[in-house]
């Protein structure tokens, strides 16, 4: 397991544990008691460590290299997934995956940003940074869902839409804007889940929903803490402060009514128990779909628009 800087206290315990396990398998010693003791200590330490994470530590967890990504959830929550490729215009973006799948007897269209699991795949997936072809593929699949009256589930995990020459040439801005507009009008239920990083326009390009769910150790806001630090503090050194100021955690986003539900992660983060995470997420998706299915398409669209129209605090002075 990879440990983050602030996880040093448990890293040492984990190391100790694997040594004991190794000693036990090599020798005749019975170390079960010692290992059990250590496991208890690890659990205690974990509870302490993860009880009061700073916003920046949550950002770090959201980017943990062993964290489950979109395809993991698709394969562990749904059955019979068939991936569908291409935007029918210019290409097939590898940073966004999508297709049809079965959720306990109900067909669902699933879409999400996909990060790579190793160095080679990270490049192949462009680090989860989509190009216009990705947003247009996503929209094509959403229209497919609408045509056959299937609900949509989107998984958000991106450090941002890709800032590249070709992306601009093909209309990154138009692709995202079009999705915001078209997703508002979708007649089928839409659930979006922030499973890792929810950075800016790149995230909401597949994130206009009836219900937005957010995993406990993820972040969602207008800019990454690093870029925010570089622009507003004119230095890369203020990412921790920027993370605090941006109020980018699930709790903050829930308070702002931008996110509907916070999904609890296993202790230590989703990667400490991906299977349990997928199970929790599946329950939440099913519960929300049941609720959304009770509404008519018109009611859903009206509520969807009303939800976003209500976001924003301002002062309304008396007209003289």
């Amino acid at each position: 397991m990879t440990f983050l800087d602030f996880e040093e206290p448990i890293e040492q315990l984990f190391e100790k544990r694997s040594k004991l396990v190794e000693m036990q398998t090599q020798g005749d010693l019975n170390l079960d008691d010692k290992i059990a003791e250590l496991d208890k200590l690890i659990e205690e330490k974990k509870e302490n460590l993860y009880a009061n994470l700073t916003p920046w530590q949550r950002v770090q967890l959201s980017r943990h290299p062993e964290r489950p990504y979109t395809l993991y959830y698709i394969h562990h929550i749904f059955e019979d997934f068939i991936e569908l490729h291409g935007d029918r215009k210019a290409g097939d973006d590898k940073a966004i995956v999508g297709g049809i799948a079965n959720l306990d007897g109900q067909s669902v269209v699933v879409i999400g940003q996909q990060k790579g699991v190793n160095t080679k795949m990270r490049q192949y997936r462009n680090f989860g940074m989509a190009n216009p072809q990705g947003y247009r593929k996503a929209l094509r699949l959403m229209k497919l869902a609408e045509k056959f009256n299937k609900p949509i589930v989107t998984f958000i995990d991106t450090p941002g839409a890709f800032p590249g020459i070709e992306a601009e040439e093909l209309g990154q801005a138009e692709a995202i804007a079009r999705n915001l507009f078209e997703m508002t009008k979708l007649r089928v239920p839409v659930i979006s889940i922030i499973i890792g990083e929810g950075a800016s326009g790149g995230a909401i390009g597949i994130g206009v929903s009836d219900k937005t769910l957010m995993l406990e150790n993820t972040w969602f806001t207008v800019i990454s803490p690093e870029s925010c630090s570089s622009i507003l503090w004119r230095s890369w050194d203020y990412k921790e402060v920027a993370a605090e100021q941006l109020k980018l955690t699930a709790n903050d986003m829930h308070k702002m009514k931008i996110v509907d539900t916070i999904i609890k992660e296993p202790l230590g983060g989703a990667h400490h128990n991906p299977e349990e995470m997928a199970k929790t997420l599946k329950r939440s998706i099913k519960r929300n779909l049941t609720l959304l299915n009770e509404l008519s398409p018109e009611e859903r669209i009206e509520k969807r628009i009303a939800k976003y129209a209500a976001i924003g605090t301002f002062e309304e002075r008396k007209v003289q």
């Binding site: 209309g171 508002t184 800016s200 326009g201 109020k247 924003g312 309304e316 002075r317």
Partner: protein, 284 residues
């Protein structure tokens, strides 16, 4: 035009007496061709360089004067909305202080001003962004002004013209500003359902979350010549792609039109006539 409206209106077509009092001096030095032009002449020319055609950035009031018919009585809308530092955001300055400074510097209440009046005889709503107010950034007030403009246009069955000039979403409003991208786009679906025309005019510069939401969603997308229009900023693209320079004309109006994202480019002096013509044709 009523007196109070005239009073707050500066820029294009001001009287010679007012011009003498212009604080920025008597001369306009063109940043593009370096020509020096008398302010009087430059303003007559709608702040477009008479030597090279460079379009100087102008604020909402200038567009209001340019667009609304001279004999009509344009009325400001939603000018009682002010920003709130609801997240108590502090970077090198507090957002509260930034708001105060921006108000003083720009003499505006926010980064967008909305007015309604007749344009070529047609009642329209014009929502124009102000770049001197925190880089024309979009926060809750800009989002709300667009939302209310949409409602107003539906109620009064009149076209909406939005003039973009913005660095994107306002960081100091964090998630709230991000959501304004969805809010404005979502409201525009209602305008579309009501079959009311929406003209988007993109001016220098239009980038980030503003381009990636309402700016790109016009029934007709127009730009002034050579305006910087894009999603990512040029510097970010160079850093990401490890480039020393970008192709000539990259992310300029002409480039966007060539790639299919603009209906046409019009010089400032032709904007009104062309927009009115299009609106009339859409109506017949």
């Amino acid at each position: 035009m009523s007196n109070w409206f005239k009073r707050i209106t500066t820029g294009i077509r001001t009287s010679p007496q007012e011009k003498k009092e212009m604080p920025e001096g008597l001369w306009f030095k063109c940043p593009s061709c370096k020509a020096t032009i008398a302010q009087v002449e430059h303003r007559e020319n709608l702040q477009v360089c008479s030597s090279c055609g460079f379009h100087e950035r102008v604020g909402p009031k200038a567009y209001f004067e340019l667009f609304f018919d001279e004999n009509s009585r344009p009325k400001l809308l939603f000018d009682n909305l002010y920003p709130v530092d609801s997240l108590e955001f502090v970077d090198l300055k507090s957002y509260t202080d930034r708001i105060k400074e921006a108000e003083e510097k720009s003499e505006a209440a926010e980064a967008m001003e909305v007015a309604t009046g007749k344009m070529g005889g047609i009642k329209v709503v014009v929502a124009a962004m102000n770049f001197s107010y925190i880089g024309g950034s979009m926060g809750a007030v800009v989002g709300e002004k667009i939302a209310r403009s949409v409602d107003y246009c539906i109620e009064n069955k009149c076209p909406l013209i939005i003039i973009s000039k913005s660095g994107g979403a306002r960081m100091m409003e964090s998630g709230i500003s991000l959501m304004q991208m969805i809010k404005t786009s979502a409201k525009l679906t209602q305008l579309a359902d009501a079959q009311i025309p929406y003209v988007s005019l993109l001016t220098d510069p239009t980038t980030g979350g503003v381009t990636a939401s309402f700016s790109m969603l016009g029934d007709i997308n127009i730009a002034e010549p050579k305006a910087l229009i894009g999603f990512a900023g040029p510097r970010v693209i160079m850093e990401t792609m490890n480039l020393k320079e970008l192709p000539e004309g990259f992310q300029r109006s002409e480039y966007l039109m060539e790639h299919g994202f603009l209906d046409f480019i019009a010089e400032r002096k032709d904007l009104k006539e062309k927009i009115v013509k299009a609106l009339k044709l859409l109506k017949i």
